[in-house]
Symmetry: C2
Subunit: 138 residues, 2 copies
């Protein structure tokens, strides 16, 4: 089998990290199918996610591991990890019990493009928690 | 309002393309919620998607616009475009009538990590069309 065929239809997990050592990961609500957020993992974040069963990412803005929920408490319990055909993107099916977006919404995708426009958004959700409360110093 | 607040809670669509001029876009089945594929768009692909209502991407391997379905016939009818909090990722809710993965599956995410392992995959879907047939020269 060729190398690319092996990646596509083989059963060895060989995640392809990009030139920055990162792979995108979609967190999807295991119960509802709602896409909650998209973040990035380095190999360490992925290994810790697999080992602990909690969503762990790599923060590109803070340049360090980001254990989802370590500040807000809004953790992700990982039920399943899926990989795509060329193994350069992951889906984490997660169980959550509160909003996953730091702005206060269940999902980061709380706005959509207004029909018939190319630059106007509209809200399609309401906030489910107060970030000021969740992120305040304990 | 600060620039980052404006991006997060404003209603102006200002998609943030990365250093390669690309933004990731998740195609999600509008009817079932299944994540079908993740691809990338440059500004031209995004503009054409908005204008035509069909999923158009930028192929990083072929370095050109990729009108999804132009070869296979498996087009995406775009019902809604969502953007995330920091406007660096999109979701396209799409209507499809056949498999979206070039390997023959409905979704590119046809394998999952086997429970209790860190490098073994298992199939979680069956093929829905024959790529050899779909992609053969007409």
């Amino acid at each position: 089998m060729s190398a690319s065929k092996e990646i596509e239809v083989g059963l060895k997990f060989t995640p392809k990290f990009d030139s920055n050592g990162l792979i995108p990961a979609i967190a999807q609500d295991a119960a509802t199918g709602q896409v909650l957020m998209v973040a990035y993992m380095n190999d360490e974040a992925l290994a810790e996610t697999i080992k602990t069963g909690r969503g762990v990412y790599y923060s590109r803005s803070r340049n360090k591991l980001w254990r989802k929920g370590e500040e807000s408490g809004n953790v992700q319990i990982v039920k399943e990890i899926l990989v795509d055909c060329d193994q350069d993107c992951l889906i984490l099916k997660v169980q959550v019990n509160n909003g996953q977006c730091h702005v206060g919404y269940m999902s980061c995708f709380y706005r959509s493009l207004k029909t018939g426009t190319s630059d106007e958004l509209q809200f399609n959700a309401e906030t489910v928690y107060d970030p000021a409360e969740a992120y305040k110093k304990k």
